[in-house]
Amino acid sequence: MAEQDCLLKIKGISLAFSGTPILKSVDLSLYQGEIHALVGENGAGKSSLFKCILGIISPSQGEIIFLNESLSGYSIRDILRKGISMIHQELMLIPELTVAENIFLGRETAHGKRMGLSEINQATTDLFREYDLDILVGAFVKDLSIAHQQIIEIMRSVSQKARLILMDEPTSSLTEKEVVFFRQLIFRLKSEGISIVFTSHKMDEVFDFSDKISVLRDGEMVGTFSKAEVDPMSLVQKMVGREMKDFYPKALSEVGQAIIRVNDLSCAPHFEHVNFTLHSGEVLGLSGLVGAGRSDIGQVLFGVKKKTSGTMQLKGQEYNPGNPSEALRAGLGYLGEDRKEMGIIPEMNITENMSLGLLDAYRKFLFIDQEKESLDAAEMQSRLSVHSAKEGQRIQNLSGGNQQKVLFGRILLNNPEVLILDEPTRGIDVMSKFEIYTLILALKKQGKAILLISSDLPELLAMSDRVIVISKGKQMAELSRDNASPEKVLEFSLH
């Protein structure tokens, strides 16, 4: 294609957060009327790339050229006016306003004069007629289905004369029928000359919708391919294919007796009919996409969520914790998926964060035995090499890796037999990751039973003795260490 058709050209974009590289010299070219799929694992840099294009974050290096003009220095609003918009995974509509009001939100003044409600409604009706949409312009957005809400967002972009629409996993919350309609709509946009970049974890959609496919891996652009150049299998290999074997410490140990048995466990609507056994001295990996139900399994085991049917056994005894406090006393430890939301108390210091929930062990009459508490916490802090600048430092001022180690300390202070670790290394530096891997293996050697939930596929495969794959709330496969390849796991996850 000729150079003047090139709508968006990304040249050598790099980005780093507190020393951790997020994007490494990424290039991408996009032509008018092209549907372009952007694929990669969670954390490969897809959303960061989108944010750079939209001007939400500015890259440390490189340049983004849109319609032969560099976007650097332009605000989010300017870039929107130039014709780039985005459909987020969480829709950005105002539920209490009507369809038409949402579409014209913030643009009620056209050509210097204010548009009345009837004019807004008329303009929306015309727009919908043009695109054969059968949605009432006067309906409240809160009464619409997610699919319709998404269409409203897309039409808002269209009415803003968008030339390029970025879509973050647009089909993730659509039913199959709705996906068919969505496909028609984006092909219609394509015929109008609008370009689309979308992310998806679903291989069939990637191949069905797109003209070109770009693969991001660890912040690097692996390449842009036409559909003829790749097939789903080779694409998955490009997404995961990295050799980091030595990064994971090795420790083989004897797997002991069954500690936890889960029979036909369901927690509607998150997951159903899950079966597995967790042994002492074993790391059992739970794999699946974000939202597939893997985190919910951990939460049910720890009493954060309630099961809806099925049974759990702990060392042969019926086990059904009513809340995390009961699970804690039964000998379980839990590390939540989101450190900020489910882990730390930001205003409290390292000691207070470690002993949280465990203070009954430090009870002295009515009071806390603060001497014993600090002593134990200090010992744990040095054992886990938590680095803090000064004594009594608030946990919010520590790095992510150190915060995570403090939360590990909280679990270990209670000396549990079973550990449920949900994304133990998310968003932490490489060195802390390595320390946590070493720690997990040491715990395994001590005979702890460990349920490891992770989006980081190489990590999960290297650490786990067995891997269970969850997709859309269903248990798809159980793979032994020798049988579990990234391709296989991803194939089951995307099923």
């Binding site: 809340n323 406090s325 939540g336 108390i345 930001p346 207070e352 949280l356 929930g357 603060q370």
Partner: protein
């Protein structure tokens, strides 16, 4: 000097302490009647009811909640203690203990509704505020209750070793609450659930139980305040305590407790109470009209929070 600077900049209550000293200096320079032993005793006596209420509600606010029903609880409990000590029907101790239990029960009602319904505490206690006022009027049949036990009057107006009884209650309440918040498991968990409720729950803290307790404490101290108020005016007034919740909450906020929960101190609340009390007293002494006092007080509350925000930022850079 260095230690002094560290005290004002490093301790969380340093800012309000500094402000209190400045207002005291200001009033002392304007009138010689301000800094006298008698006037100090008067101030402490005046603030005792607000202080006791504010100590109790500090727990609620640190835990991330709010209690707007305080003023009404003061009225209900004031009426209850009056009814129980009318015509010497029951012993004074029975009347007091019965009233304190009533306060705890009413607080527990707030707590139970908050925990079970998940309705924001602002709305729940707004409701119980109105209910409480109604109950006070029903119990008293809308009339002041007089002819109370002589010894109840002593609680409000008497003194022990020359110290007025309400001031003794203030000191005792301060010590109890301070220890409860800083030294006990309960106090630690109150701060934890205000700081991050979900994380506390996942860590094994019995969040609902702690929430229930903080409202019970708030109710208990409201009952104590109601008893002292009834004892002081020697009458059970169903209209007593109007707007007391706002004075108490203002003192807590001026004292540096975050309205978003998670941090705060009883010492800060005490300083906040004294700050409000000193300004009221000082303005009286320099003959500012009661109407203008309200305008000035409102402005000072906003100013205090704005300045505290700036001060916290400044502290970060020191």
């Amino acid at each position: 000097m260095k230690e002094l600077k560290a005290f004002f900049t490093k301790t969380p209550t340093g800012g309000i302490f500094l402000a209190l000293i400045l207002v005291c200096a200001l009033f002392s320079s304007m009138t010689s009647r301000f800094l006298t032993p008698t006037n100090i005793s008067v101030i402490l006596n005046q603030v005792s009811v607000n202080a006791i209420l504010a100590f109790g509600v500090t727990f609620v606010i640190i835990a991330g909640g709010i209690d707007l029903s305080l003023g009404s609880l003061v009225a209900v409990c004031g009426v209850v203690v009056a009814l129980l000590s009318q015509n010497n029907e029951y012993s004074l101790w029975l009347a007091i203990i019965g009233t304190l239990i009533a306060g705890i029960a009413l607080g527990a009602l707030n707590g139970i509704i908050v925990v079970l319904t998940k309705v924001p505490p602002f709305i729940v206690t707004l409701g119980t505020m109105t209910i409480g006022r109604g109950v006070a009027l029903i119990l008293s049949k809308g009339r002041p209750i007089s002819d109370l036990n002589e010894s109840l009057n002593f609680l409000g107006n008497g003194d022990l070793f020359g110290i007025p009884i309400p001031i003794l209650f203030l000191v005792l309440s301060y010590a109890t609450c301070h220890i409860l918040l800083t030294k006990t498991i309960f106090g630690r968990y109150v701060k934890a659930i205000g700081g991050n409720e979900m994380a506390s729950y996942v860590a094994g803290v019995r969040v609902n139980r702690i929430k229930l307790y903080v409202y019970m404490i708030s109710g208990l101290f409201a009952a104590l305040a109601g008893i002292l108020l009834t004892a002081r005016i020697n009458t059970g007034q169903p209209n007593a305590g109007l707007g007391f919740e706002l004075d108490a909450i203002a003192a807590v906020i001026i004292g540096g407790t975050s309205t978003r929960g998670g941090k705060g101190t009883i010492t800060g609340t005490l300083l906040g109470v004294l700050f409000i009390g000193v300004i009221n007293n000082g303005l009286d002494l320099i003959n500012v009209s009661a109407y203008w006092q309200q305008v000035i007080m409102g402005g000072i509350i906003i100013l205090a929070v704005v300045l505290d925000g700036l001060y916290q930022k400044l502290k970060m850079n020191i």
